[in-house]
Symmetry: C2
Subunit: 335 residues, 2 copies
């Protein structure tokens, strides 16, 4: 295991300490745990909370900030945060306008967010839940409720976050998050595994000349393992199922997210985007904007994912809004 760490058991807490030390004007913690990350300056608006395991930066705490989320419950590496953490954050950020939970479709996360929602209700805090399930590789069409949440959750955060920042109410923010959820699909590919610090060895093995399409961000099995192919061939196999699943038609408009899983250079992400662009041009689908970089990672895993989000006027407007966190800044050119 070749990592820049101290004791493996301190990986998460030392990482968090570093983040809180680096960005005290933007991030702090609340309640009984430094793993309860919230904005330093709370805002009087509907609250947005996420949470999940560590090892995916900028997921999840990288999306806590202006125009995005208000808090995140941080778990151990690839482990769910506790219901208590989620409740403490909920109480801290609630302004009597309610709180929306947006998180990925993993059983541990669902269980703990559900429990937190029940406890919040007993404290008279209204909550709503939207569960990201954008990974088309993880279950067939018709069984969307079985699909994992991966990088596409960015679009839920961004659009719902912008709506909340504008003063939308609980129902409206929830509607927007659900609309973004219905509009985004993702597919991933991996070339190498990552190592959980406390485990010390790779969670799966893959040949020096192999790739696996559809792999999840915790190394969940994909749909096809083959010899490594050229970038264009790989992209073709990833974009086609997404377009089919989204039933995208000519003249529709989309946002593209090419997400590095950890060790993949930006140069390669743009070689990937080049092919996506060609495919969409041929189909007369318009690209509204492109995000390329690391948005949801699996530590040092080599791989990438492609997310396509179908846009209408409302989502385009929200997607364009200013956002500012220590991990993500976006300037709205219409302002």
């Amino acid at each position: 295991m070749k990592k820049f760490i101290n004791k493996p058991e301190n990986f998460v807490d030392e990482m968090l300490e570093g983040i809180l030390e680096a960005h005290p004007d933007q991030l702090t913690f609340c309640g009984n745990s430094k793993r309860n990350i919230v904005r330093t300056k709370c805002k009087d608006k509907v609250g947005l909370v996420t949470g999940g395991g560590s090892g995916h930066l900028p997921l999840f705490m990288g999306y806590v900030g202006d125009g995005l989320l208000d808090g995140t419950a941080v778990g151990g590496v690839f482990q769910s945060p506790s219901a208590e953490q989620i409740l403490e954050i909920t109480k801290h950020i609630d302004n009597k306008k309610g709180v929306v939970y947006i998180y990925g479709n993993y059983s541990g996360d669902i269980m703990n967010f559900e429990m937190a929602a029940e406890m919040a209700e007993m404290e008279n805090i209204k909550t709503a839940q939207v569960i990201g399930n954008d990974d088309v590789a993880s279950a067939p069409k018709g069984e969307e409720q079985k699909r994992r949440g991966v990088a596409g959750i960015f679009y839920l955060y961004k659009c719902a976050g912008a709506a909340a920042e504008e003063g939308a109410n609980l129902e409206e923010v929830t509607r927007i998050a659900n609309k973004a959820k219905a509009s985004v699909r993702t597919m991933g590919v991996a070339l190498s595994p990552c190592i959980i610090p406390e485990v010390g060895k790779a969670s799966f093995s893959i040949g020096d000349d192999e790739m696996e399409i559809g792999m999840g961000i915790h190394g969940e099995p994909g749909i096809k393992r083959t010899k490594l192919q050229e970038a264009d061939q790989i992209v073709d196999q990833m974009v086609e199922p997404i377009l089919r699943d989204l039933s995208l038609e000519q003249n529709e408009e989309v946002s593209i997210l090419v997400n590095g899983l950890g060790a993949t250079p930006k140069e390669e992400l743009y070689i990937v985007y080049r092919r996506i662009s060609k495919i969409l041009k041929e189909k007369n689908i318009t690209v509204f904007n492109v995000y390329a970089g690391e948005f949801a990672t699996s530590m040092e895993m080599t791989g990438f994912s492609i997310s396509i989000c179908k846009l209408d006027t409302e989502l385009k407007r929200l997607l364009s809004k200013n956002a500012r966190t220590p991990f993500f800044e976006q300037i709205d050119l219409n302002e």
Copy 2:
């Protein structure tokens, strides 16, 4: 070689095609080569041009945009761009206010920028040059002119770019770039090499349990190869020479850049920052702001660098200004 590419010989041009397709509102090319990257909308101000080899994204073209640079000449992987490319960009962006070349201290780059400057003079374009040489590991104090330019060049771009955007003249922009150059020092460490696509194999080998402190971003030899140590120990050996070289005193203010070389997870960069923060607190040095992420990479190399930039009121103001490129956005909170 496990990369997401097509034919290795098309690596650079396909990457550029992807970038230009993804960000047409911000980046385009000029003259006879798609490797001459410039802003889509030129501004009436002193021009700022950089250039260098590919394989270092976001260096160099990632810093072309509002509040930063106007153009960059892109070379092959780890190869200098030509003097003709630099000249074409210079002519394209010049508004009779002169052009400042800011680039790293590598002999090929120096030769070609010098030649471009001479050719520009014949066309009545005034130029100035500032050569980044922040890598303290590459030559001892007193021999600064031998030091390589690495991630710290970000501070030259950012401060000079902000000054030019405000309307500063050629002499003033050059003065600011030189001031940032005199204020910043960097030290790197690597755990694994990268592979140049057309070469197909690693440029050096390093043991599974080894690290090399002081390695350059093209794999240039460092100052010490040892068994892999804990993050805190590694950081101590990197920060101490930087502080000594900068002669930093109590109560001074600095900006910190923790730069991933390609495959290092953000989690680890923050474990690194945690230790930097502790060291600086003990010395009563104040941290003005922190950048953590990939600013100057070596494709899929595992490693990171630490840059420390000493700040005064002028540099703090310029460093805080808005910037927007497809690879870097920063919102000025004072505006």
